[in-house]
């Protein structure tokens, strides 16, 4: 009976010990992925910003500029691309909608971001675009890979349509969550005018005819939770200028937008809560379960060996005491 029990324990010990690395290095990279149908919105604000009044063509100080960013997973498009790409793909249709203090639209910037659901590497397919223009992204955008490393990454800048390094600057504590801080600086770069301009009747083509060009610089800051690769907080010190041409009335340049854009407080709280819950799910597969199974396997193996050793000990009743020799009588 003991022999049988030790064999069952041995089988279980091997089962759990094998499950540990299989879960971490085989199952996790295949199961951990960004859901194709995810929908998320984000509100960012720039207080005391500078904004160009297209009526007077003068830069004005405004109380607040609000940026509403939506990312919507397009499941049908991702399934269509998966058939040819041969891997799990996520298609995010995004919109950055900027609203002025009066509630009027300042800019509307749509994009389609296609990426590998497991690694977050960009996937190049028809439809990949920024503001309706086809692009070929390199590097990350919006999200870092699962198990983010302490190193620089390449990050795609949608305004300038360029990829540049985003530098790892250190590990910090952000509201009780350990995060990696990344920073990217895009130097002054000439960028296209948005397809949808804030004033009716003005088009990018009509502005281009005046010879005026649009320039942009930004310092992009992200605080990324490394287990999930999800940013829990972001800021951008963003500046835009119009330069040259006849539109500026003899001036060299005019500020079109300048502001320090930060996530709105209620969105910070909800993002931190969401990321913390997802972090536990990832840690379950990368740490808690693999280590738990390994310890369980070793424990079961020890128990199995103990039972086996006891089963091999000579059993049966204790030997009878020797009788005193009887005197031999005549």
């Amino acid at each position: 009976m003991r022999r049988k029990a030790s064999l069952i324990l041995l089988a279980l010990a091997v089962f759990f010990a094998a499950l540990s690395p299989l879960l971490r290095w085989y199952a996790f990279p295949r199961l951990a992925k960004v859901p194709a149908g995810q929908y998320q919105d984000m509100v960012l604000e720039a207080k005391d910003a500078t904004l160009l009044d297209y009526g007077t063509m003068k830069a004005e100080k405004v109380d607040r500029i609000t940026v509403v960013q939506t990312l919507k997973g397009n499941v049908e498009a991702s399934e269509r691309i998966e058939r040819t790409a041969g891997r799990d793909v996520v298609v995010w249709d995004g919109l950055s909608y900027v609203q002025g203090p009066d509630g009027e639209m300042v800019s509307k910037f749509p994009e389609r971001y296609i990426f590998d659901a497991h690694t977050q590497e960009p996937v190049h397919a028809t439809g990949e675009s920024v503001d309706g223009t086809p692009v070929r992204r390199e590097g990350l955008e919006f999200k870092w890979p699962f198990l983010t490393e302490k190193r620089d990454y390449e990050y795609f800048d949608a305004q300038a349509r360029i990829t540049a390094p985003i530098h790892y600057k250190g590990t910090e504590d952000f509201r009780g969550v350990e995060v990696y801080y990344f920073e990217q600086t895009i130097p002054w770069t000439k960028v296209p005018f948005p397809k949808i301009m804030p004033v009716e009747g003005i088009t990018p083509e009509s502005v281009a005819e005046t010879g005026t060009t649009r320039w942009y610089t930004t310092v992009r800051k992200f605080w990324v939770e490394p287990v999930t690769g999800a940013p829990v907080y972001g800021e951008e010190i963003h500046r835009e200028e119009l330069r040259g041409g006849t539109l500026l009335g003899g001036r060299d340049k005019v500020t079109a937008f300048a502001g320090h854009v930060k996530m709105r407080e209620d969105y910070i709280r909800s993002t931190v809560d969401l990321v913390e819950s997802q972090r536990v799910a990832v840690l379950l597969m990368t740490s808690y379960l693999p280590w738990g199974f390994l310890v369980l396997g070793v424990g079961l193996l020890s128990l199995s060996l103990y039972l086996e050793a006891r089963g091999r000990r000579p059993g049966g009743p204790a030997p009878a005491q020797d009788r005193e020799p009887e005197p031999v009588g005549a």
Partner: protein
């Protein structure tokens, strides 16, 4: 010999379980009916 068979059974079961779970994968879900926002939401 019996110990070897027990160990092989445990190993095979571990592989079978992990392969089955990864083959099942996770559901893809559906595209959200929510629109891309052009108004400022009052809360998340």
């Amino acid at each position: 010999m019996r110990a070897l068979i027990a160990a092989a059974t445990g190993l095979a079961l571990a592989f079978a379980l992990v392969l089955a779970i990864t083959a099942l994968g996770s559901p893809t879900g559906e595209t959200s009916p929510e629109p891309l926002l052009t108004t400022v939401p009052s809360h998340p």
